[in-house]
């Protein structure tokens, strides 16, 4: 249920990418990677898992082939359509390949997100790299290892079963003879299909997976040598700048670009409502764009002041929402001892990736090459092909490891703009968005209104749960608690602002509403908050993280007091489990988070330090959405499109953070990039209530607590 919720939500938010699926083309592949062993393993097991699954309008590749190359010097190159944006998968996937191939991690390089070189991939989102790409690459690596053993056995006329593959070589212990993987593949350009599922190493036997490993390219990162998308430069490259409309849904009335056109080397490109400039330097492009005098007509549009009323009244009946009903909430509420009803709201927030959108586009005849930062290289390739009416075969998209995304870089806006300008200029063009453009013309985490009705018996048994989410999304909308009578719905709305994926999609919002309401119920019942949850919870994995977090936090050891409160919240999403305890102190009316303990379980841990980093970071980032962040808008304009006016978490906002990782080697590894951000907001809201007796049901909490208490101060 949760899974289909998030697939629906992703689909709703995606830019249209057409429905065609393109057969993989490997033009020039062998030429590019040189000699050596090329392995294509068909995987019936994964094929069965993926079969018939249509996601995002695409049918997934039928052959489920991945690619792995072993050069003569033993260097291993792995190819994947996933991209690195800070999650650490370049490192964790390296560990997974090293484990099964039996080579050192330092001998592995991963090519990521280069559409000419890697197998088709839907994109990097939904915490899916670890549960899907990880096992796939492990299987390919294991198949490669088996093949190498077979080749050595043939060479030595030995029984493969007597040979050992380790440290990048195959050894025959009987005669103390060994041959390196590179020597085995020497001079061969071999493509072999490996049938069947090779046996994977059991998690309890892992030597490389499951151990902490620092970033494989860490040195590049601390020396400034790594080239992010915005760092790419091409010979003869020019700089592009877009003249932006003065508001959303604006119509171009008139434009005078004569002054800009008089500047040396400047070219103005007009195409319908699109106005861009190209110049020999970035500075000239910036100044030229500023000299274009454009007049726009911006229609009246909603603002924050009318937002929540607007969302309730503008449900889009044509779009499929979701509805889940069991039993009768109405009847159950009629006979219940405690009945509650509350509304929770959340504002639009911005991903604010520190690297704004950037792209370099280069045309060679009708072939287009684009370097950009995006989570969906193949979708961007298809967008470019459609936009310029060329075959996707003629478009190559490369995604250098990117300066973060958090769900905010599914689109290829800068790529399309750069390609458009490069086509006009006849030279490579770079487009690098400003922070203001990123705040305004990217897309937002949807705002939402969530109405909840609940009921319980005196003994603490939850008997009714009604939950309506307007606009924010269906991810994480289902309750993990045992309740017979449920009515849970998501109501899609034509959002006044452009919206899209955000780390965790709507789950942080739905967790906030659900876990706040659970806290309100516990309070109304006079029950302890954790005890009330556990009384209504049979999911053993969720119980385990609640108990682990509570133990580490010392939950119940200290009682909340005026000005200092403790809160707890938790849940499950995308196959992982989370519980968060927060301590909040109210300082002059402002909630300051002092301490956070978070227990997290995502099956067998692949890279404990990488995971810890993700969990810590997700907690810190969630502080922004919980306490401060909100986009202010009016009539199609963003009023706080600057870093100085959009409050993100900083050093001084960070509490003491303790992370408890529950490592379940008996369970498949789930992704971890998202779920760890879901417990913070409700835990903090519950702590604020414990400290102030004021229930803040609107995020961002700090501003709204101030609003609620401000009158009395």
């Amino acid at each position: 249920m949760a899974d289909s919720g998030f697939l629906d939500e992703i689909k709703q938010h995606e830019v249209s990418t057409g429905s065609a699926w393109f057969e993989l083309e490997r033009r020039g592949f062998l030429k590019l990677v040189g000699g050596g062993l090329l392995i294509c393993a068909a995987s019936p097991q994964l094929a069965a898992q993926e079969a018939g699954r249509r996601e995002f309008g695409h049918e997934l590749p039928k052959d489920i082939a991945s690619w792995l190359h072993i050069a003569q010097d033993g260097q291993v190159t792995v190819f994947t359509g996933k991209v690195e944006m800070g999650q650490g998968i370049r490192t964790s996937l390296t560990q997974e390949v090293a484990e099964e191939l039996h080579v050192d991690v330092t001998s592995i390089t991963i090519v990521m997100g280069d559409t000419d070189l890697v197998p088709w991939d839907a994109g990097t989102f939904g915490s899916r790299t670890t549960p899907t790409m990880g096992p796939e690459l492990r299987m390919i690596a294991a198949a490669a290892r088996e093949l190498l053993v077979k080749m050595a056995a043939q060479q030595w006329s030995a029984d493969p079963k007597t040979l050992i593959a380790a440290n990048g070589k195959v050894t025959n212990p009987a005669v103390d003879e060994s041959v390196s993987y590179g020597a085995l593949t020497q001079g061969q350009k071999l493509v072999e299909v490996v049938p069947g599922d090779p046996a994977l190493t059991a998690p309890t036997q892992w030597k490389i997976i499951g151990t902490p490993l620092g970033r494989t390219n860490g040195r590049e990162l601390v020396t400034g040598k790594h080239q992010y998308p915005s760092d790419i430069s091409r010979p003869g490259m020019m700089y592009g700048k877009i003249v932006r409309p003065s508001g959303f849904n604006a119509k171009l009335v008139s434009a005078d670009s004569s002054a800009a056109e008089k500047m040396a080397g400047v070219r103005v490109v007009r195409d319908g409502g699109f106005i861009g400039v190209v110049a020999p330097t970035a500075e000239t492009a910036r100044k030229a764009a500023g000299m274009v005098k454009a007049e726009w007509q911006v229609p009246p549009q909603p603002s924050n002041a009318t937002l929540f009323d607007y969302l309730r009244k503008n449900v889009n009946a044509n779009e499929r929402g979701m509805q889940h009903v069991t039993g009768s909430v109405e009847q159950a509420r009629a006979g219940a001892d405690i009945k509650l009803e509350a509304t929770y709201t959340l504002q639009y927030i911005a991903h604010t990736p520190l690297e704004p959108r950037a792209a370099v586009a280069e045309w060679n005849g009708d072939k287009l090459t684009v370097w950009t930062g995006s989570q969906r290289p193949f979708a961007i390739r298809d967008d470019l092909a459609q936009t310029f009416r060329i075959s996707p075969d003629n478009v190559r998209v490369l995604i250098p490891d990117t300066g973060s995304a958090y769900g905010g870089k599914h689109t290829g806006d800068a790529a399309v703009e750069a390609a458009r300008l490069a086509k006009a200029a006849g030279k490579p063009v770079k487009v690098n968005w400003t922070r203001e453009e990123e705040f305004t013309w990217a897309y937002f985490r949807p705002a939402g209104v969530i109405d909840v009705k609940s009921a319980a018996k005196k003994d603490g048994t939850l008997v009714a749960w009604e939950f309506h989410n307007y606009n924010s999304g269906p991810s994480g909308i289902m309750t993990p608690y045992d309740v017979v009578n449920q009515a849970i719905s998501f109501h899609p709305v034509d959002s006044p602002l452009r919206v899209g994926s955000y780390r965790g999609l709507a789950a942080p919002a739905n967790f906030f509403a659900r876990e706040s309401q659970m806290d309100e119920l516990a309070h109304a019942l006079g029950m302890e908050a954790l005890e009330f949850r556990l009384k209504n919870l049979s999911d053993a994995r969720l119980r385990a993280v609640f108990q682990a977090a509570a133990e580490k936090f010392g939950w119940g050891n200290r009682k909340s007091s005026p000005g200092r409160g403790f809160g707890i919240a938790g849940g499950t999403e995308k196959g992982s489990y989370i519980a968060t305890c927060a301590e909040v102190e109210i300082v002059k009316g402002i909630p300051e988070i002092r301490r956070v303990v978070e227990a997290f379980e995502c099956g067998a841990v692949v890279n404990p330090d990488g995971l810890r980093n993700q969990v810590e970071g997700a907690i810190v980032q969630a502080i922004g959405g919980a306490l401060f962040e909100q986009i202010r808008f009016e009539n199609g304009r963003i009023l706080n499109a600057r870093m100085a006016k959009y409050r993100v978490p900083r050093f001084a906002d960070v509490p003491k953070i303790e992370v408890v990782l529950v490592d379940r080697k008996d369970l498949p590894s789930a992704g971890a990039g998202e779920t760890p951000n879901m417990g913070l907001a409700p835990a903090v809201a519950n702590a604020i209530f414990a400290a102030t007796a004021i229930r803040v049901r609107d995020m961002p909490l700090a501003a709204n607590l101030w609003f609620k208490t401000g009158a009395s101060k």
Binding site: M85, G86, Q87, G88, G214, R215, G218, R219, L221, V222, T223, G224, K225, H226, Q227, Y228, S230, D231, S233, Y239, T281, A282, E283, T352, P353, L354, E355, P356, D401, T402, G403, S404, Y406, N432, T434, R435, E436, D609, G610, N613, Q614, E616, G617, A618, I619, V620, Q621, R642, M643, A644, V648, P649, R650, F651, A652, V654, I657
Partner: protein
Amino acid sequence: MSGLVLLVNGSEMHVDAPPDESLLSVLRNHLQLTGTKYGCGEGECGACTVLMDGEPMRSCVTPVSAAVGRKITTIEGLENNGALHPVQEAFLEEQAFQCAYCTSGMIMSSVGLLSTEKNPSEDDIIKFMNGNVCRCGTYPRIVSAIQRAAEAMRRL
């Protein structure tokens, strides 16, 4: 356009740029020193931090003309004969990054802090670094990295 001479990472560099172009743009677009990053263009995130005569400065709001005659150090200038600066080492040790787009600015600010404060307290670090944003939220690791680097530098 005007010919300017900049002293960057110990080398004289000649640049043909208008005097009001930002130092950041000159470093990145004229000198191809792309280790210094654009994050906000308003001096609010610290991604563009470089040292000017040893002091951390926001290069995105510094006109290049103001950098003439000053010693400019960027992230590319920190390594010494292939050896990492202790702050770079410490960031690696603590894995004090995720996407690492903020890392150059974080490291340059840290180097600036440690040049005047040999033994900063946690509060000193937080106060000094509060203008640098890590959107991935690795702040606790960055604090640990600065403490680790401070210790290593005291031992030098």
